[in-house]
């Protein structure tokens, strides 16, 4: 039967089909989520090939555990949660410390409040360059909120932290950005 004749299958139904062993369903789910998943993984590791490997492992894990999806969260939240677990396990096994740089350590490098500028006046390219220099923990929270467009509650679920921590981590990421921009400015002088 022509696939185009089929009505669009919703994400949850896709996961049910995957749980039933339907490979076409996994391919379809991948088509829908490859970009956000890959984008997210690249925030956890700058290594393109490692991110691809993690993406593969994420799909394998989805294939194996689709039956355990309880439909309490959105499919996207569930997928990113799996990707995060895969990334953490693999990075831990390979003793890649990047992702485990804790927020405390990341914050230690930031001056309290710095610079007499407002963020809105900074060129986006410069701000984007500063973003890439952020600690993974801060890149991750910004990516979850602004790229994945998740709510605080969904983000908290994925990170396994209270909603309050999501808020404070966001504000810390902002301060870290300011600090980086300040350092770049002083370097230019």
């Amino acid at each position: 039967m022509d696939m185009n004749m089929q009505p669009v299958v919703d994400d949850r139904q896709l996961l049910r089909d995957i749980a039933a062993g339907n490979r076409q369903a996994l391919a379809e789910l991948y088509t829908r989520y490859q970009r956000p998943l890959f984008n997210y993984l690249l925030q956890l590791t700058p290594d393109y090939w490692l991110a691809e490997e993690l993406l593969q492992d994420t799909l394998v894990a989805v294939w194996k555990s689709a039956h355990s999806f309880e439909e309490r969260s959105s499919v996207q939240t569930w997928l990113i949660g799996i990707a995060r677990r895969q990334a953490h396990n693999t990075l831990r096994q390979r003793k890649i410390p990047l992702i485990y740089e804790s927020e405390m350590e990341a914050m230690a490098a930031i001056e309290p409040e710095s610079g007499d500028f407002t963020l809105a006046t900074i060129a986006r390219e410069e701000l984007a360059a500063a973003f890439t220099q952020l600690a993974p923990v801060h890149r991750e929270i910004l990516a979850l909120i602004f790229v994945q467009e998740l709510s605080y509650a969904e983000t908290a679920t994925i990170l396994g932290v209270p909603v309050g921590t999501v808020k404070s981590r966001l504000s810390n990421a902002r301060r870290a950005l300011r600090s980086l921009l300040n350092a770049r400015k002083e370097l230019k002088r």
Partner: protein, 307 residues
């Protein structure tokens, strides 16, 4: 100068990142919108978040797509045979055999020493008694054979009655708590003890056969079936109700078959006998196997830890 937004409940600083990404529920979004109308510091704060949002999107937009073969590699991983670690090691016949052999060997030390000694002593004593009473008189050959069969059945029943339970196995609690099934342990012990008794009895039968002439098999077939049956009944009862009862029942059963009473001239007399049914035959062997299987299946459900 930079603005510091006051951190009190009136302001909506916390909600601004979600607001700028359009991820607030309707009620909260309205609250933020209203607040922003009147609050300059929050408007500036929002502008900052919008700048961060745009920068984040810009920085991550260049990420691009993963390579096209990802799915092929995923299928390859899914279809790959399971890593030959634990699973195969657990189930290959060779390793299963090795495991069984290990458990088997360890039981030799765990089974109470007196089982080995008492069985051997009964058999040696029986042999001496039989030979002393009947040797040199060919007409007593049949009685000698029946007596040996009696001794063989008795040691078969008695050894097996004492291989299960806390009172016979000092490490019983430990045995139950290891991953090795108590069933495998009991099969090993049964094979060991019955095998030992078989060997003793076969040896005695050979000695008897040599002494009187004739083949040992003729004697062995007198006791082999009953010995196996009594051993399995003894094992089953010892596990269900206790060693002593298991042993007693087996001995009484043997006595009723091999020592039928007869009353002659008003006197109660015992005679040696071995009816055809109480020799090695398919029915006896089948019953022995059935009782043994039942005992083994029963084992995990009845750990008698408290006495």
């Amino acid at each position: 100068m930079m603005f510091q937004v006051p951190q009190d409940r009136e302001h909506v600083v916390d909600l601004l990142p979600a607001y700028s990404s359009g991820n607030l529920d309707e009620a909260s979004a309205n609250r933020v919108r209203e607040h922003l109308l009147a609050c300059e510091p929050c408007r500036l704060e929002l502008a900052g978040w919008e700048a961060i949002r745009d920068a984040t999107l810009l920085a991550t937009a260049s990420a691009g797509l993963p390579s096209a073969q990802i799915l092929d590699q995923v299928w390859a991983k899914i279809d790959a045979p399971p890593v030959p670690q634990v699973v195969i090691r657990q189930w290959s016949p060779g390793s299963l055999g090795a495991l069984f052999w290990l458990v088997f060997r360890k039981q030799v030390g765990i089974i109470h020493k007196s089982i080995w000694i008492v069985s051997a002593m009964i058999m040696v004593f029986g042999c001496i008694l039989i030979l002393a009473a009947t040797l040199g008189n060919q007409s007593h050959m049949h009685e000698a054979q029946l007596l040996l069969a009696l001794f063989a059945s008795v040691i078969g029943a008695s050894g097996v009655a004492f291989i299960y339970g806390a009172e016979n196995d000092a490490g019983f609690e430990l045995t139950l708590s290891t991953p090795t099934s108590i069933r495998i342990v009991m099969i090993c012990r049964m094979i060991l003890v019955v095998g030992y008794d078989l060997l003793l009895s076969a040896l005695a039968s050979t000695i008897l056969a040599l002494s009187y002439g004739g083949g040992p098999w003729e004697i062995i077939q007198l006791w082999l079936g009953p010995m196996l049956l009594l051993a399995s009944i003894s094992l089953m009862l010892s596990m269900m109700v206790g060693s002593v009862i298991g042993l007693l029942f087996s001995l009484i059963l043997e006595a009723t078959q091999a020592l039928p009473t007869n009353i002659e001239q008003g006197l109660l007399g015992l005679q040696l006998a071995r009816p055809d049914l109480w020799q090695t035959n398919p029915i006896i062997i089948l019953l022995a196997v059935l009782f043994f299987v039942f005992a083994i299946l029963y084992a995990p459900r009845q750990p008698r830890l408290s006495s």
